[in-house]
Amino acid sequence: MTDFTYANTPLEMEVYGYDRVVKSHCRGCHGGCGVLVYVKDGRVEKVAGDPDCPINHGTMCSKGLAAPQIAYHPDRLTHPVRRVGPKASGKWERITWDEALDAIAERILAYKEEHGAESVVMGYGTGRENEAAIYRFANYLGSPNVLTAGHFCYGPRIATTVITCGSNPIADYDNNPACIMVWGNNVTISNPDCYKGEPFSQALNAGAKLIVVDPRLTRPAARADIWLQLRPGTDTALALGILNVIVEEDLYDHDFVANHVHGWEEFKARVAEYPLARTAEITWVPEEKIAAAARLFATTKPGVVQWGVAIEQQVTCADNNRALLALMGITGNIDVPGGQMLFRQPPVRNVSEFGAHKALPPEQAAKRLGGDHFRLAGNFGIINPKYVWDAVLTEEPYPVKMLFFISSNPLMTRANAREVHDALEKVEFMAVADFFITPTAELADIVLPAATWLEMDYIGDFWKRHGWILPRRKVIQVGECRSDHEMLNDLAHRVGQGEHWWDDFEQGLDWILEPSGITFQDFLKTDRMRGDTTYRKYQERGFSTPTRKFELYSTKLEEWGYDPLPQFREGPMSPVSRPDLAEGFPYILITGARQPGFFHSENRQVPVLRELHPDPEVEVHPETAAREGIADGDWVVIESPRGAIRQRAKLSEGLDPRVVSAQHAWWFPEKRDPGHGWDESNVNVLIDNDYSNCDPAMGATSIRTLLCRIRPETDADRERLTGVQP
């Protein structure tokens, strides 16, 4: 470790009497920030940003600062437990790790023997940097079914970028983009995977122009040079309309288009279907604003598109991504300084190799649930969750007998929560590894205590595409908690795949680093490593696609039977496609706007974070609220054809009066009954997960655009929704 350059670490140590400080790498979200962990008498007392870290430059977010409160939380599960009562009875007994892993191993082997490895479904949520280890386990087991959020979160970015240009282009904030187009994203309070709010802020402060596309007036939207307030779910149309202006007005990069793209003529014909008038009609965005945004972005170089998950959680998921990739491409911003970089990792074994995807026998891969339906997803090892619930509930196309969720709370975070609940209640055996006994874990047979990032050694950001890797250093041990990687390494030996794993997981980290010629112990002596940052690599090598070109026209999508060019499709639950339904459910409901302090369903039991948002809130325009008789702060009932939930109204002029915006993943750890109020305010109760409500290529469930009505809550509503009598 080098000395700390400008945090006054020695003085902090002296004043507070800390015993030591450890440089590590936070994973309060997907990871990313370099941190200093201050320790006194063996306990973590404080987490601060590492000023030397090139990713966050010493700054932090609320989640990272609260890490000690999560690690030492009184409700934390600190030893394995086995359920002794019926599901959701809250009755557990303490067992040893050996008992827990032996019981899980026994079930895995028995189900594999009787029903095939595909009957065992592994799962993770947004991921705690354990994704590759989980895939490794499933692939060597022979199960093609790993249930993740990948159908509608980050997986689409990987799948669409790989088929278009070989890898995920990352905004190169360090080299000062001159124009930033933020599309359906609030990078300053969320974590869109490879990005952090700090470098984005710095680029803006350095003078970058800002265009924001968002149905909500976020703070970035308020600060933008141009804000495009689109109708939810019309992103592909807006992007194609912008592309059409750029093509029509000859603002594209001629050299890039002439030499490096595939399918220009077909692409030109497609975008010509989106003249300004039609685009404005579809998207609600005025023509002049669309044209102005197109001109500003195309003429202000270098430019980046800051994208995220919102555009992926729609029925046009893949086409949204592909249209924005086209925007990055034809403006000449791919792989240029301050543009959209195809960064390279340091020479290590990558997540694909560590995930052992080649170990899955082709005959097992062919059994992937929904693999021949959602073929873009299937080719990237990703499945749609409903296929799993259906296989549990109907045993078609084959029975799923076991679920093993590692850092996942699907009851709170997957569409059609009541169907998820039915499946989790019915499944024959379920294991969960997590920090707390969540509403999902309450339905498990065995729950394993997972380690937080303070309690593990790891190669941080190993899975990302920004080119950095950073050491995560184990600082403390809490109870019997174990990292997911160590747990899987142990379990692997118990199910007969030990030869593909290691005596100790640190040897696995050595194996990842081996191509660099160093061990994990060597890596710990460094602050970080970065891969080669050569620009415009495609000029010599082309892109890593079938045509070696940037595929505006995707040969892979064509091969898999899809439209090779992006095309707007109206979602199945919109006022345009279902005017009949919109009579009773007149508002467009959008969901999932991020809240500082929470990471999806996590952290609601942490007082300093819960205090930031004590109650679930739904944003409503004051005109709409007045029409419905709702005052600011009222508890209201939000209803879709699928059900009803309660949240508190927050009046906001920042949305169109026809749109309301509800928060996601709310449960109430303070409710001590085993349900923890999972269905009271859970927006996924309202959301349809039917296959028709999913992207046909990626299987992304549309959770960002549905129809609802909203009204003040009555006493009877409260009793019905909370079970508490008024």
């Binding site: 952090k196 970035p220 920042g654």
Partner: protein
């Protein structure tokens, strides 16, 4: 003599509330009590539309503090470096300061019956450290200690 205050550029604030949590970690205010609080403001624009900014509520360490005047227990003093310090041990719980503060920056702990406010982490400043919220935690770099002699 250096006079200290927090310099906050609200135009840069993204509303991430990291400062709130950093303050909690240092000063341990109970649940519901914030010594620095990020709030939303939606000012009307000349064209009839509405903007959106974050405002930070915190003690301004006024040159002539109304709270000090109002206090019935001599619990509030102004240091020579400008920091207005509320000593909870001396607070009698009359809430006169809460009413007197023109910025509504003083909160009241109903359990302990004492007033609480930002004392500008004077215990850190006196040791040569920056206040918790201004110690390079903010991803927007919008909070700094004004008047600090040692740059950090």
């Amino acid at each position: 003599m250096t006079r200290y205050d927090l310099g906050i550029d609200e135009d840069l604030c993204w509303g991430c509330k990291t400062c709130e949590v950093a303050c909690k970690g240092e000063n341990g205010a109970p649940y519901g009590i914030k010594l620095i609080a990020v709030g939303e403001d939606r000012p009307a624009l000349p064209d009839g539309s509405t903007s959106f900014v974050f405002r930070l509520s915190r003690c301004r360490h006024c040159d002539v503090p109304d709270c000090l005047e109002a206090c019935n227990f001599d619990a509030i003093e102004q240091r020579r470096d400008g920091i207005v310090v509320l000593d909870q041990a001396m607070c009698g719980g009359c809430e006169a300061c809460v009413t007197a503060c023109p910025y509504r920056a003083i909160t009241f702990d109903r359990k302990k019956r004492v007033a609480m406010k930002c004392n500008l982490c004077h215990h850190r400043i006196d040791q040569g450290l920056l206040p918790a919220c201004a110690d390079n935690v903010c991803p927007a770099h919008c909070i700094r200690l004004v008047g600090a002699s040692a740059s950090s």
